[in-house]
Symmetry: C2
Subunit: 171 residues, 2 copies
């Protein structure tokens, strides 16, 4: 709180005029970023019909956001760790999951995606992204690209023998 006050150019006391507690301050910032992310992702995917490309956009946007706000992520997880605002984080993840799940369901219904367990697939894609966020903090020299990530999640490691492949590789 002292650092935040200094950075903002006000006193610690003034900080408590605007936010009841550190928890409230953090959750406010977090919710703001979440809304920004959700709006961006839904806007960018709106005009895409191909579920595969929607997933690519989802992954790109998520990773981009994480990179842009890496200082925030770092600060948040530095002293308190993961278990800080689990309540709002979970609400956040539920919404993220629902959105991604919708994309995947459409892909399966279209017959474009294999007959996989939707909810499992959703969790797995989100897990890669969650791992990416951690990597930003503890291993920033070994990040992967959004396109490589999308290609593997869509096409798998195992060679495809289909004539037309599953989906084009990253442009």
């Amino acid at each position: 709180m002292r650092m935040i006050a200094a950075e903002a150019g006000i006193s610690v006391g003034a900080l408590y005029l605007y936010y009841r507690s550190k928890e409230e301050l953090c959750s406010t910032v977090f919710k703001g970023l979440f809304r920004e992310f959700r709006d961006t992702i839904s806007e960018r995917t709106r005009e895409i019909s191909d579920p595969a490309e929607q997933i690519r956009t989802y992954i790109r946007t998520y990773m981009e956001m994480a990179r842009v706000h890496r200082e925030f992520i770092y600060t948040f997880n530095k002293d308190k760790g993961f278990a800080f605002g689990v309540e709002w984080k979970q609400k956040f993840f539920v919404e993220l999951r629902r959105f991604l799940n919708g994309i995947i369901r459409r892909g399966v219904e279209d017959g474009m995606f294999a007959d996989i367990e939707e909810s499992e697939a959703t969790k797995i894609v989100l897990s890669v992204l969650r791992g990416y966020v951690v990597s930003i903090v503890i291993d920033p020299d070994n990040l992967f690209t959004a396109d490589a990530c999308t290609d593997i999640l869509l096409n798998g490691l195992v060679r495809r023998r289909d004539p037309g492949k599953g989906v084009e590789l990253s442009r």
Copy 2:
């Protein structure tokens, strides 16, 4: 340190007879678990020749270990967060990455895996697992299975039209 001492049935002072600092204590436990993991994984994959099955075993073992030691993971990340023992964590991850990279390289050389960027693929698989570890802490009700994870990473989300598919789905 007080809690650990109490749990161990000794005094805080005695703890400092065995470990110079909290950091040393943690790194000792961490290194022990790492060795256990490394030995288990290398033993289990030794008699497997199929790279795809090696990856399945790698993922299974990783997730199993994480689940077994979830209390340790939780405690470690509760107050200090990720950024605690980054030095030894990174050494650990380098070794993990090297091992997995070897498996994937063999798969690519065999022609079983597609012509992907090995190192990217390695980081992505590890990222899913890293995400899994985080999920254990903050979202334990929404974990995915090792087999679903392996199937998606090997075969991808997009439907395969090969006659014999890429690889059998989870047994």
